[in-house]
Assembly symmetry: C2
Homo-oligomer: 238 residues x 2
DNA sequence: CGCTGGTTTGACTAACATCAACACCTGTGG
DNA sequence: CCACAGGTGTTGATGTTAGTCAAACCAGCG
């Protein structure tokens, strides 16, 4: 839960009692292996899933056989909090790594909402942050070059992982294959590979299957036209 | 307000009393002309804007001078309900046409949230629906061809406008220029123009600056790989 | 060892962007 | 009434980015 509270505290004032209330909502813990479909699209849902450890992706499949990630989740993120109001998902959630999950029944969310509007609003805020990230992804897919897309994603993840306490802002574990990166970025594996090589050649990143180091954050941000305001890192009002 | 209630009723059971409660939240009505910046990115906000009439777009500007729409709003949509929890926007909201707006102060939303968790949840649901639409846009930008993108957008809008009571599912007012369409679709004006011509040539659409007719909805849906489940047209749970 | 999944390379192609005109319409002021 | 301006739509020639296809390479692993 630590990553989740770090994420919350970054944007809201949360008392110990409120943190306890969050903990009380968790009904169950679960583990899943890598490359599993954790939540299936379209199925009625009665619980939401908080990611404690590992990486998840929101995936949409296309008829052509290709697929597109519409979001990535790192520890501390809710994968499907939106299913609380929508009742089902329009996408799958799949595990990229082995994951530890905390399960929060919708009934308890409903209770919380009635008893504690302030916490409800914080949860609402989390889904709105997801949406803000998604908007920025839309911009990436629509307007940024492959080089800028890769750079932008790395800039985003370094911050999100830092918030979760899993990066120093430069180096972090990076469990995705180039194939999965391609699914993320709307590119092909081949082109992702060439793009990464270009970033390496320019001395901007170091990357292998397990870890990234951003060797020149300023240059990466510049290439990506990265502006972190969409991550809403400051305290939210009231 | 009629379009807004149609939208709500489509997905939730809303009593007359609840509709009245919604109406009571509106503090003020406003009018804006076409091509105005209605809400500026980054500015602290203390109210949200419900679109009563006209079209709005969520816009992100890039350094290169190009811009990307990350969402379109038709009558009945909240343009910036997410500012209630986030406090400011990561994008501008601009008017594509003359618009009538209803202004809802955040203080009243907060009140409502405390007094009526059910309505709060319905509002939360609206922001989650926005996000679902945005995910689908991400897929369009990342994976669909220009032809499929245009077709997909038309399919989406015909349904959203039908829900709002502004389309029969085939024909609707369409106030966007090809330039604005390009901003929407992550394409250039030139390419949008060629794509539209292709759709016309195939007898699938009829389109001028003021109106669209979808001549062959089935073919358009097929080209777009359109699946309306992301619009959550059925009743939400509880 | 010989698989297997992931990464890398090269040759070729397709889709869309870019640049530059031009046509058309509408509103405006002389 | 006409001349003109500005926004919109259209066309053609050319350039660039990323996709496609196919194969080789490489490391970890049973």
């Amino acid at each position: 839960m630590d990553s989740h509270f770090r994420k919350l505290r970054r944007r809201h004032d949360v008392s110990a009692a409120e943190e306890a209330a969050f903990c009380d909502m968790v009904a169950e813990h679960r583990r899943v292996g890598p490359d599993e479909v954790v939540i299936r699209a379209g199925e009625p849902l009665h619980e939401s899933t908080l990611l404690l450890d590992g990486w998840l992706a929101r995936v949409k499949d296309l008829r052509s056989g290709s697929r597109q990630f519409t979001g990535l989740h790192v520890p501390g993120d809710f994968a499907d909090l939106h299913s609380f109001t929508l009742g089902r998902l329009d996408h799958e959630v799949v595990s990229l790594t082995e994951c530890r999950l905390a399960i929060v029944p919708h009934a308890r969310l409903k209770d919380l909402m009635e008893r504690n509007p302030r916490l409800a609003r914080i949860l609402w805020s989390e889904t709105n942050l997801d949406a803000a990230i998604n908007r920025e992804w839309t911009v990436s897919m629509a307007r940024r070059s492959a080089l800028a897309r890769v750079a932008h994603l790395l800039c985003e993840l370094s911050i999100r992982l830092e918030v979760a306490g899993l990066s120093d802002g430069m180096t972090f574990d990076f469990p995705m294959t180039q194939n999965e990166l391609a699914d993320c970025l709307g590119l092909t594996t081949v082109h992702v590979n060439r793009t990464i090589q270009e970033l390496r050649k320019r001395g901007l990143i170091q990357l292998d299957r397990r870890q990234v180091t951003m060797r020149d954050v300023a240059a990466l941000r510049n290439i990506a036209e990265f502006d972190d305001s969409y991550l809403y890192l400051g305290k939210a009002p009231l």
